[in-house]
Symmetry: C2
Subunit: 136 residues, 2 copies
DNA sequence: TTTAATTCCGACTAAAAGAGTAGGAATTAA
DNA sequence: TTAATTCCTACTCTTTTAGTCGGAATTAAA
């Protein structure tokens, strides 16, 4: 049970964006320095964030990113999902009748993982980007 | 964010033990067939469960495993922990002053992951093996 | 008009983790 | 004596993670 760096970095970078907002856009170079994350890796991550409409970019010199929506409207689940981190402890297709391990019925632990997924996703749904800046 | 097969199988196998309890011990072969998990893999898992005092073994023909404690006293966290699945989304050493990414202070998301860990661990602490057999 | 800063994008790679196999030793009931 | 079983270590294949690399496109500013 773990969360990978990509998801962590995505949240970190978004939090950085939210708490260091200024007039113009913020460049990845800045974030890279402040958060100590490789620039090239950040670029990858921001592509996805952008595609998921969480940030807006402006290119060229003095370019960078800004949040597309207010921090109070961005859920952690949005961020996590954007970078392909999926909360999924279920091992089977939820809407299939089949179970995991090639079984024809749902396994003995199916409901458990289902509940766990909901538990974790609930957490990510509840927390907004804004809450993060308060936490510090 | 995912749980690995090892942890899943461990819980499955323990649930199997709990719900198929009989007079003598239950062999891994049985569990292997019922749950469709490779025998050799189960052996690995049960070594750890045994070392963590969750099951007792008897060797030789007609041997097998039984729960060491009543299913009502075994927490999921015990099982997960036994097979080295750790719920840890924090990226730094919790009791160090240092942050992740070689930073000298805790990062902007530190408290978040800390809370998430507690959220997930709380779930695993609350659920007992016995609850699983009821779920079905 | 040139330059430097920046996003954009795809491909590549090294390391780590996951998932399981393989082989054989030791034990014990029948 | 045999078959069933746990015990234990080591190995291997595959997938995922965690980036790096190279270069194109864009734009502000000198
Ligand atoms: S997890 Fe759904 S059937 Fe096993
Ligand atoms: S997770 Fe603890 S400092 Fe970043």
């Amino acid at each position: 049970m773990k969360l990978t760096n990509k998801g962590r970095y995505a949240v970190m970078a978004m939090a950085d964006l939210a708490s260091n907002a200024k007039d113009g856009p913020i460049s990845l170079t800045e974030i890279s320095i402040r958060q100590n994350i490789s620039l090239a890796y950040l670029e990858q991550i921001f592509l996805k964030l952008k595609n998921n409409k969480l940030v807006k970019s402006s290119r060229g010199a003095n370019g960078g990113y800004v949040l597309e929506k207010p921090a109070s409207e961005i859920k952690l689940s949005n961020i996590i999902f954007a970078v392909d981190e999926e909360v999924k402890t279920l091992n089977c297709k939820k809407n299939s009748k089949k179970g995991c391990n090639n079984k024809t019925t749902k396994c003995i632990t199916h409901n458990l993982w289902d509940q766990l997924d909901q538990h974790i996703n609930g957490f990510f749904e509840k927390v907004k980007l804004q809450d993060l800046t308060k936490l510090n």
